[in-house]
Structures are given as C-alpha cells and as structure tokens.
Symmetry: C2
Subunit: 389 residues, 2 copies
C-alpha cells in the first residue's frame, strides 16, 4: 500500500531526476540504496518517483509514492514521513498528499464539521460570524465583559485570541468561567446560542485538563494549534473528546508546506471541524487562489465531493456542501477566513467563500470600543442579509 | 519583564518601520493599538520595537521586546509568542532570542549535556562516534543484528533512524528489547559502554510509555523530534524523566527559523542534552557558518560562556566547554553533526567542531554491508586518533 505525495522542487532540468530520487530515499529509508540488503525493503518501503512535471521557471512538481506501512496510525509519524527531513531543504515545498482510505479511517477527520456547527447555532442558510477576545494581558473579568458585548451583538462564535494561554494575569480556569458567564448574559438577552471557543494550550495532560474543564462549563467548541501542540496530541484529544468541535489555529504553520494542504487537508484529517486561516487581502500574504483551494479542501477534501462553482467564482445559491444530511464518515470542515478582516469587506468575503463559512473579525470590531455590541450586531446583520452575487 | 527577539525582514526602507511595528503587535496583542483601552496592556504587554538595522540587499534586522508574562512557563506558548502568526509571513525569519533568566529557569535546559554523556561513555578527551539503525522496514531482529555489529565496532552511540516509530513490522517494545540485547553482545566483546538511543514518537502518553519502557531496559539516552511531538510534550517528558539524556532530532524543523536558533538554542532550552543537525557539506544546505554558530550555541548558549577559538577556526587543545566540573544549572548540550557524513570526512569534521562533538555517520557506514563492525571500528579509531590541526 502506497500513497502519493507531491513536492515542488527548485532545480535545473539536468538535476531534477536525481533530486527526486533523493527525496524519495530521504522520506523513506534515508540511506544509500546500495546499502539496502533486504529485498522486501527495496520492493515495499523505499519511496518511488512516480512522475516529474516541469512547471517552468526552474520549478518541478515531483510525485513520490511512499509506503503506508511506515506511517502507521500516528499523525506525528505521518508528518515525519511526509516532510520530516526534507523540510530542512530550503528549495522544496510539500505541496500535496493523496491520503489513502486506510489513513483517513485511522485519523478519522472532522467529527462535527459544518453540519453539526450549523445545528448547534440553528443556522441553516447563512454564513457564521465570529470575533476574538483580546488583547493579551486583560483580566478574565475584562475578557468576560467583552465576550458579553459580542454575544449581545448576536455573534455566532467568540473565540479566544490564540495568544491567550494560562498566564498568571488570566488563568485558563478563571477565564473560561468568567467568559462563559459573560456570554450567557448576552445569550439571555438575544436568544441566539452564541458559542465560546476557548484556546487550549500546553502538553497533552494540560490540553486534556483544559478540555475537561471546558466541557464541565458546558462549552462544546474549542480551539487548538496543531503545529504548536503537536499533531499527535491533537489527534489524541479529538479521539478523547468526541463531543467537542475542534477549531484549528494555524500558529507556527509557516513551514514550507502549501497552506491549502496543511490547513485545508491535514488539519481536518486529524479531526479539525473548523480551520482558521489568514484570508487574502488581510495582514498575511495568501493569494485568493490559495484561499479558494484551502476552503474547497476543508469542505470537500475528505469526502471527495468537490462542489463546483462554490468558492471563488461567485456563489450561486443553496444546496451547498455540508448542510445536507451526512453519513457516519468524516464531515466537511468549516473554513474560517480571518487575519485582518473588516466589516466593510463582509460582502466581498461572503461572495468569495459562500455561506458554508465563518467570518472572523477580530481587531477591527474592537475599534468600536464601547460600541462593540452594536458593531457586532451590524456584522451579524451584514452576514445574514447578504445577497450572493 | 521583557525579552528581545530578532527577526530578519525583507522590506524596502520606506516600509520597514511599519513592518517592524506590525510584527511587534502581531506577536503580542494582535489588534489595532487604537482599540486597546487598558493602559497596563499598552505599557506592559504590547511588543516594542527596540532597534532596526539595515543589513543591505533589502533585508533588515528588527529587534522587538516581548513581555515575559505572555509566555508563562509553557514551551509551546513560548514558540507561539515568538513566531506563531508571524511564521505565516513568508518574508520574515525568526533569527534570535535573548532568553531571560526567568525563562531559562522555567524551562531548565539540558539536565545531562556534554559532561554526563562523557561520564557515561568514559570519554574525557575525544569526540563521540555514533551511527543509526536503518533502513525503515527491517524487523527488530535485523536491527538488533546491525546494532550488535556497530557495538562490536566500538561505536559510542547507536541511534534509531528518526523514521523508526511503532510500525507493525517493528513494534517499539520489540525493537528496543532486541536492540538492547544486540548491543549488550557487542559491549561484552569490547568492554566499551556503547549506548542505544531509541527514537520516541507519538503523543505525550505514548512518549511517556516508551520512555518508561526504555528505562526498564536500562536505556539512559533517548531521541525526540520536538517539532513533530510538540515542544510542550518534550518539555513534560524531560521533567518526568530526569535520568534520561535527550537527543533532539530536527525533523519538521524547516520553519523560517534560523537553524542555529531553533536547534542550537531552543531545543537545549527545553532540555535537549544533545542536538542532531545536518552538517555543512552533506545532503542539506546549512552553511559552515550556520553550523559553527549552532554548535557554539548548543554548548554555550545557556551558560553564556562562549569559548573562543573552539569551533570553526581550528581546535587548539584541551580545556574545552563541558568536560570540566559543572554546577547545578543547565549544562552544555552536545552538538551532533549528521546528514550525509562519511568516514573520509572525519578529520575535517573534527577539526571544524572540536572534541565536544558526536560524529554521526549513518548510511555511509551501512555501505560496508557485512563488514559493518570493521568499518565502525575504523570510524571510532579515526575519531580517537585524530590530531587537531
């Protein structure tokens, strides 16, 4: 059993065959083939170059078949075999992986995904609207007040800023209790089931303790940063807390891995129900094309149902991925474009991503300062009233 | 309390001030400063640009002071605050960190380091010689045979290839029992206390179970890949197994973080006693200058005792870092250049790195096939007999 991995390699045409073979060896047996004496290893384990495609400008797409047996069922080992040593080569990008069915089953993918998030929020048509609790340095009481304002504005999700951890000025336990209470106040006022998404940090024991504490508080959505916490720990957490929906944060994701692969495919693969990523046109440099692919992968990457005309080419009406009935397999993950979004861009962003999306406006909402609830309300209205062009 | 972080930023001169401020905000409060209402947050938490230095060719070194309070004592949160979101910016490299005393104490650094590794191996002068068990795909019995040959050759360390995990064809428990027995055979023949370094993988529970199993087998050195397992999990493991010496593997280390920082400083900071890295002149692209700095940092980064003339400028005799008496603080970590080393390069590598080094020759030794023990012996002799120029 093998699976195909595609790397983009900068090389001259004369060297690319040797480079490709070098990567195939590096990501499998990592030794001179002349020194491999076991015939079974040569036949079944050594990576095989399947195709080399010249993309012009000194760049080649190299497709290599790796053995599934070397991966097993651990997400860390999966990353290790995909890109462990080759990540140290500055002229190679991990571009794509054709995840085989056995590995999909082993990792499990999103347990909740778009359908369950829609059900929780009682939203069956429009996109989701969320914001973030910040700045870093505020007390739990201050954050709770902010959360209450967001909830009074009717936001769907209020997430922790990814910098919030278990700091002495804002202990995790104190924060989630205070924020949960703040949001409950808002929910009582609006009747809308706004969800709080606390950020879980630390090692697996700490992640686990925080997830349990969150569950005790009635929280059913949490955020993790797989590249910080380690994909193996996130994998374990997802398996142990099947009732929680997991939002993946891209922190420390700046490896030379194509973002649409890392965030759009690999994070959902290990169980992310929603993936947060920096959208085009904000503070980060992802192109619209990258964002389009990332969102498509998140929604359809594991189910294989690519929904044409859904993203980036004008949304054309209902009947979209994820809001229909789903089976027992992995579910479509929710794309969460963020990173410098503004209220003014709501329409443009919705037209681009369509309604199976959560819009996340952080700092820009906070600029309203004491009028945050009103601003949040305007944001939700903009999402709800949007007519797709 | 603040600590200085240096980023290398590609920018034009007109934009660099704004870029620097942008990074300072991104790595602290991550929101528009106009929206920050809390005076204490503005004064104590928001990152401050301390210096901008034009390095020419459109590159600037930007020094930013971040608040220690945002980090706390979790290694994952440390990485998150150093480079979390900014890692997603393709034109920024995390270049250096001036780790403050409070964080050094919190993380603990190498518990064993060079002095304890020298004591274990009864080596007080020369460099260490090691090799790796591979290829991926061999059975525990095959790997044990190979390990025995290495030990019969008198190698100091025999490590698992970083691709070896807990695969169905070679279960961790079976492998370490078989390899330990194989090495014991070799040790009985030579009298030299060759050490086996198994690679620990998976989530924290699995890492912990594997470390406990290794300890039961009498193993006192293990390998971890901090960027795969997550730095927080490695931090926990180091604290729970103070009797084990930890070798850090650079797998998945290809973030835009300077290797001399990531591998030379940050891995020892969280407790690595030895750091494996791809040396110049092998399969990877690190320059001699990068390798020189990486090794210097590993040995002296935490103690602050930079030993002049030690690395890269010709070793000039004994009296080197780490083999003298040490206090109770963190100890110098052992640099382990690897990645395409050959027996023929032993002299050159030793002259470059000096004796507080472990030479790691993997695939090249395996080319000797049935003469591996003889080849390993020649390797150890080359290390032992080397006269530094």
């Amino acid at each position: 059993m093998r699976f195909a991995v595609t790397y983009l390699v900068e090389s001259d045409a004369a060297s690319i065959e040797a480079r490709a073979k070098g990567i195939a060896v590096e990501q499998s047996v990592e030794m001179p083939l002349e020194a491999v004496t076991d015939e079974r290893v040569l036949a079944d384990i050594v990576g095989e170059v399947e195709a080399i495609q010249d993309q012009g400008h000194g760049r080649f797409a190299v497709r290599i078949a790796l053995a599934s047996a070397t991966v097993g069922t651990d997400a860390g080992q999966f990353m290790n075999m995909l890109f462990g040593n080759t990540s140290l080569q500055e002229d190679v990008i991990l571009h794509d992986v054709a995840v085989p069915e056995t590995l999909r089953e082993a990792f499990g993918g999103p347990r909740h995904g778009i359908p369950e998030l829609r059900r929780k929020l009682h939203l069956h048509e429009r996109a989701f609207a969320g914001s973030a609790l910040k700045p870093q340095g505020l007390t739990p009481g201050d954050l709770a007040l902010l959360a209450e304002r967001f909830a009074r504005g009717g936001l769907d999700f209020v997430k922790d800023d990814h910098g919030l951890a278990d700091q002495h000025y804002s202990r995790f336990a104190d924060r989630i209790r205070a924020v949960t209470a703040g949001i409950a106040q808002g929910v009582r006022a609006t009747g809308h089931p706004t969800r709080y998404i606390p950020s879980l940090t630390g090692n697996l024991d700490q992640l686990r303790a925080q997830a349990a504490l969150a569950r005790e508080e009635g929280i059913d959505c949490v955020m993790v940063a797989p590249m910080v916490s380690g994909v193996s720990s996130v994998q374990a957490l997802v398996a142990e807390f099947p009732d929680l929906a997991f939002f993946a944060h891209p922190s420390l994701g700046g490896l030379r891995i194509s973002p649409d692969l890392l965030i759009g495919k690999l994070f959902p693969l290990i169980g992310a129900d929603a993936v947060i990523f920096p959208s085009f046109g904000g503070r980060f440099g992802y192109s619209p094309e990258t964002c389009r692919r990332l969102a498509l992968h998140a929604r359809c990457g594991l189910t294989g149902q690519e929904v044409a005309g859904h993203v980036g080419s004008g949304y054309t009406g209902p009947g979209h991925a994820g809001s229909g009935p789903t089976g027992s397999g992995p579910r479509p993950a929710l794309p969460v474009p963020a990173g410098g979004m503004t209220l003014a861009r709501t329409g443009e962003i919705l037209d681009f991503y369509g309604p199976d999306t959560m819009l996340l406006i952080g700092g820009n909402l906070l600029l309203a300062r004491e009028h945050i609830a009103t601003e949040a309300e305007a944001f939700v209205r903009a999402v709800a009233d949007h007519r797709y062009t």
